[in-house]
């Protein structure tokens, strides 16, 4: 394993040190391991926080700032944060108007956020959790832990963040987050596994001509291993899986062609070309898009496609100004 790191045990802390030094608009607490907007808390503003394992950068820390998250709590690599940390973030952003927790649907994340919410309740902070579960590769049934939270998290954080910035009430911010989650779906494909620093070897072995369909964002293998396919075939397969679950025809959509960390932007643009063509050919109107690395899985090669069926109100909130290290426009 070759990584640009000092020591496997310090990767998260060192990254936080870098965030602290690079972004004066953020307040990074290295002991608590939280990244907070420098101007938080703002009295009367709903606090919006998220968190999860590290290794998905820029998610979540890179989305802290004006018009998006108020704080992020990064856990160890691919490991959910702990309750104390989530509580510290919750307290730091609480402006008296309640706090919304954006939680990706993984057992560890859900349990740790749940425990943090109980602790926050003890301190009389109202917390509403919104669980993101957009990954159509997983069956949502009583026989699984439910769908995973993946790419749509970016959509939710941006749109809910815009409403919170515009002084939306806590119930409304949670409601719009839920609405975005319900209107969004994702599907991911890996060309290579990733290597967790502490593990030191790839999370799975894949042949030179094999890919994994339906992967998550934690280096876990997907639903199915198959022979290498072209970018267009991969994109079409992904969008078909999404469309089967949530028909897109007639919709105005926001689409993200997201790199998993190790795939060059040049290839992501090629994939975007295929996605745009597929969507247009299937009756959807693509009005907004992101192409790049937004929800990564360390150095994994591959891509994840996320689609959100917009409403005029969601489109407006998406377009609202945002100023974070990872997403910025309008200011």
């Amino acid at each position: 394993m070759k990584k640009l790191i000092d020591a496997v045990d310090d990767v998260v802390l060192d990254a936080l040190r870098g965030m602290a030094a690079a972004h004066p608009s953020l307040r990074v607490d290295l002991d608590q391991r939280i990244i907070v907007r420098a101007d938080a808390p703002r009295t009367g503003k709903v606090g919006l926080i998220s968190g999860g394992g590290s290794g998905h950068e820029p998610l979540h820390g890179g989305f802290v700032g004006y018009g998006m998250l108020d704080a992020a709590c990064p856990g160890e690599v691919f490991t959910s944060p702990v309750p104390d940390q989530i509580l510290a973030a919750t307290t730091a952003v609480s402006g008296g108007a309640g706090v919304v927790h954006i939680v990706k649907n993984y057992t560890g994340d859900v349990l740790n956020f749940q425990m943090a919410a109980e602790l926050a309740d003890d301190e009389d902070i109202e917390v509403i959790p919104v669980v993101i579960d957009d990954d159509v590769a997983v069956q949502d049934s009583t026989f699984t832990a439910g769908r995973r939270g993946t790419g749509a998290t970016v959509f939710v954080e941006k749109i809910a963040g815009a409403l919170a910035e515009a002084d939306g009430a806590v119930a409304d911010v949670a409601a719009v987050a839920t609405e975005v989650n319900e209107r969004s779906r994702s599907f991911g494909v890996a060309l290579t596994a990733c290597t967790v620093p502490a593990a030191g070897r790839p999370t799975f072995e894949l042949g030179e001509d094999e890919i994994e369909l339906g992967i998550g964002i934690h280096g876990e293998p997907g639903r199915e291993r198959t022979k290498l396919r072209t970018a267009t075939e991969i994109v079409d397969f992904s969008l078909s899986a999404i469309n089967d679950d949530m028909p897109l025809s007639g919709s105005d959509v926001l689409v993200m062609v997201n790199g998993m960390g190790g795939t060059p932007l040049m290839e992501l643009y090629g994939a975007y070309a295929a996605a745009d063509k597929w969507l247009t050919g299937h009756g959807a109107t693509v009005s907004r898009r992101l192409v790049g690395n937004y929800v990564t899985s360390l150095d994994m090669a591959g891509c994840m496609i996320s689609v959100c069926r917009l409403t005029p109100r969601l489109a407006e909130l998406w377009d609202a100004p945002v100023e974070t290290p990872g997403l910025r426009w309008g200011r």
């Binding site: 394992g53 160890e76 490991t79 944060p81 349990l111 026989f143 967790v196 502490a198 876990e220």
Partner: protein
């Protein structure tokens, strides 16, 4: 029996086996189970005060696990130890019956929090037969009962290989989760090995 030694021994065994646990978790999860538990247990051991009664020791260990571990296993093992601690109440000695009640409480705590049933391919599959075996042998004293429990945990863990996961990350794999040992069940075996080691000493 000194429950502090139980946690210390559990931590030692996890440290020794961390890379195996992580490897098991790579196969059907996200490759962090050994690292998680090792980090959490080291912190728990550091937080233990030797002069506390058994109930307090376990509650402290549980709280620390929750605070330091992260992932699914942190809240689950942490809650288990806290519940076990609560079950001891103010008792100053650990006897076979008291430990039995504590183990049962631990199991119930995990099931309540994680909503997993036997057969879902989780730590519950090792814990359930372990607790049952303990209860069956409790009359024969601590050493024998904890040995039976270890035996139950091992058999239960082994049986997860054939199962398809329905809880935790391995469930995302669907049928591909079959044929692999559940990492949480594997670490539960270490929990009971530690217990049998420590109970056997006294």
């Amino acid at each position: 029996m000194d429950v502090r030694q139980w946690i210390v021994r559990f931590s030692e065994l996890v440290t020794a086996d961390a890379s195996r646990l992580t490897r098991l978790d790579s196969d059907i999860g996200d490759g962090d189970h050994g690292t998680n538990l090792d980090r959490g247990l080291r912190a728990a051991v550091a937080a233990l005060d030797s002069d506390l009664p058994p109930g307090k020791v376990l509650m402290t260990a549980g709280r620390t696990l929750v605070s330091k571990t992260g992932g699914a296993s942190g809240p689950l093992y942490g809650t288990a130890l806290r519940r076990a601690g609560k079950a001891f109440g103010d008792a100053t000695e650990v006897d076979a019956a008291g430990l039995g009640a504590a183990l049962r409480a631990a199991l119930e705590g995990i099931k309540e929090l994680g909503k997993a049933e036997e057969g879902d391919k989780t730590m519950v599959d090792a814990l359930t037969p372990a607790v049952a075996a303990y209860e069956g042998a409790a009359g024969e004293g601590l050493a024998a009962a904890t040995r039976a429990a270890l035996d139950g945990a091992e058999k239960g863990a082994e049986a997860t290989v054939a199962l398809q996961a329905r809880k935790g990350r391995a469930s995302y794999l669907g049928p591909r989760s079959v044929g692999h040992l559940d990492p949480g069940a594997a670490s539960t075996v270490l929990l009971f090995r530690a217990l049998a080691d420590v109970a056997g000493r006294s």
